[in-house]
């Protein structure tokens, strides 16, 4: 039998990547950081992750039902006959990874529900949100319960000894943490942000699979390093500490809320990097990754409008000539 001849107009997409395959790849890429977080902070971290994911999924189903996008009865819910949860698992998982391990579980549940309901579904669901839902959830929890959100536990002790994060130690008491502890994750912090190596493995996997663009993380992390060096700080410490790797590889590369052009992504990364350094050095919070990405999310439509790709065949406009010829 001859091969079927497909006649179609461009674009001729030959990739088998769909929304679901990309989401599963992101979940796979997050496994090292998740496992690392559970190993470091104990079974408690696993509870937070499970609560966040299930709360996010439940909220999504309720919201979709209200929006009339899904016919789902209570009977379906009870028998777990559910449609594939596109993206909402990642929202829940990412939110859990940037929460402190000892956060009360009901707060984690409210944060995930808020993230999905207000940051995603209120804007029209998957693909329509302006801000990264997981980060909106974290910002909401940060504004609502600042004490619970800044109580950190020591890793590998499993009995809730509170300490400060490396960035907190650096900011308040001027104590530097060894690079090795920062890279392996043997420091206090959010569940998934401490181990730089685990996050790097996931990030490189996604870049190798071409699911994310290397330009965003590179420009983001590079800007933080260069700015920290120029301002007389330790650049390696500022790269490894805090949630920079988690934000750079998994949140600043979100398809929906970041620019679509290559140049735009570099602008996004540089802008977010500048905001991180400004918040860390001058701002009131020790860490600024969450707010930097949220702020740049707000700039994304503006960046996309100004960084348009060159149309093929059109003469490149020279900056000086075009203004003189007018």
């Amino acid at each position: 039998m001859p091969a079927e001849l497909i006649v179609s107009h461009s674009p001729h997409v030959r990739s088998d990547a769909s929304i679901d395959t990309i989401f599963y790849a992101v979940i796979i890429a997050l496994i090292p950081a998740t496992v690392c977080g559970i190993y470091l902070f104990g079974i408690r971290a696993l509870y937070v992750i499970l609560v966040c994911i299930s709360s996010a999924m439940l909220t999504e189903y309720v919201a979709m039902r209200l929006m009339g996008e899904m016919e789902l009865s209570i009977d379906d819910l009870l028998h777990l006959r559910l449609p594939p949860p596109t993206g909402v698992i990642i929202t829940g998982l990412l939110l859990a990874l940037c929460l402190p391990p000892n956060i009360p579980l009901w707060m984690a549940a409210i944060g995930a529900a808020f993230a999905v309901a207000f940051a995603k579904c209120a804007f029209g669901g998957l693909g329509h949100n302006i801000f990264n839902p997981a980060l909106v959830g974290r910002a909401f929890l940060m504004a609502s319960w600042p004490v619970a959100m800044t109580t950190w536990t020591k890793p590998l002790t499993y009995d809730a000894i509170t300490t400060a994060t490396p960035l907190g130690l650096w900011k308040m008491q001027d104590i530097a943490t060894p690079y090795m502890d920062l890279a392996l994750g043997n420091v206090s912090g959010s569940i998934g942000e401490t181990s730089a190596i685990a996050l790097l493995i996931g990030g490189i996997y996604l870049i190798a699979k071409r699911y994310i663009d290397w330009r965003t993380p590179l420009s983001y992390i590079g800007t933080v390093a260069v700015l920290a060096f120029v301002l007389g700080q330790d650049p390696i410490f500022h790269i490894l500490a805090g949630g920079l790797f988690l934000g750079a590889f998994f949140m600043a590369t979100d398809y929906v809320t970041t620019p679509i052009t290559r140049k735009g992504r570099i602008i996004f990364g540089v802008g977010a990097g500048i905001i991180v350094v400004v918040i860390r050095l001058i701002g009131g919070y020790p860490e600024g990754v969450c707010f930097s990405i949220l702020l740049m999310n707000a700039f994304t439509p503006l960046i996309d409008r100004h960084v348009r790709p060159q149309v093929y065949g059109v003469k490149r406009k020279s900056f000086f000539v075009s203004s003189a010829n007018k």
């Binding site: 209200l66 009360p104 707060m107 207000f118 209120a122 909401f140 504004a143 609502s144 319960w145 600042p146 619970a148």
Partner: protein, 201 residues
């Protein structure tokens, strides 16, 4: 029918949720139920009095200078409220602060005076003012109830506890400006959801 002038401000043309007027005092003062009640009493008095006065004088006010005339009338009544509250409720006066004199530029009052009282007879204007004040009161107190419960875990009006403390860790955000925007948005969404479903039927 006359009664329509009264009820339209409460439901159909609610100043907060339908006309979206007077949001500045709404955002600032709806942190506590008693502040909201004090504010709505002030708005009630000023709105009813200025609507009646402007309606009485509507044939003598030249249209070129009508806004300054309205402001003079409204500002007089706001001054009365301010002095009265300073004398008899100094604590509430202190908490409402700058938002009490700012009733002068409250868009609900200026809007109703301009759009209604300057064209309609006295009794209609009186009913309209009462309806709009009730609508404003419902809106601001409703929002204040949500915000006070969520931000302090209890409701206390003038020292009397209506709802006892039910949580030890309430959400700090609800007392901040984002909490007000969020509450207004959610209530507005629910109202729109209901009206859309009503139309669809």
């Amino acid at each position: 029918m006359k009664l329509d002038e009264l009820t339209k401000g409460v439901f159909k043309y609610n100043p907060i949720f339908y006309l979206v007027l007077g949001l500045c005092p709404l955002l600032a003062v709806s942190t506590r139920v008693d502040n909201a009640l004090g504010m709505s009493l002030g708005v009630f008095f000023v709105l009813v009095s200025s609507n009646v006065i402007i309606s009485l004088f509507r044939h003598w006010i030249p249209s070129q200078v009508r806004i300054p005339c309205f402001i003079v009338v409204i500002a007089s009544f706001v001054t009365i409220v301010e002095l009265f509250m300073h004398g008899y409720a100094p604590e509430l006066y202190g908490r409402l602060g700058i938002y009490l004199p700012l009733i002068v530029v409250n868009c609900i009052i200026l809007g109703r005076v301009e759009a209604f009282a300057s064209k309609k007879p006295v009794f209609d204007s009186f009913l309209d003012a009462i309806g709009m004040s009730i609508g404003f009161t419902l809106g601001i107190v409703g929002i204040a109830v949500c915000r006070e419960v969520l931000s302090t875990g209890k409701i206390a009006i003038f020292g009397y506890t209506l709802v006892p403390t039910f949580t030890q860790s309430p959400s700090v955000m609800m007392i901040l400006p984002p909490g007000a925007f969020l509450t207004i948005g959610v209530i507005m969404a629910l109202i729109n959801y209901r009206s859309i479903r009503k139309e669809g039927r």
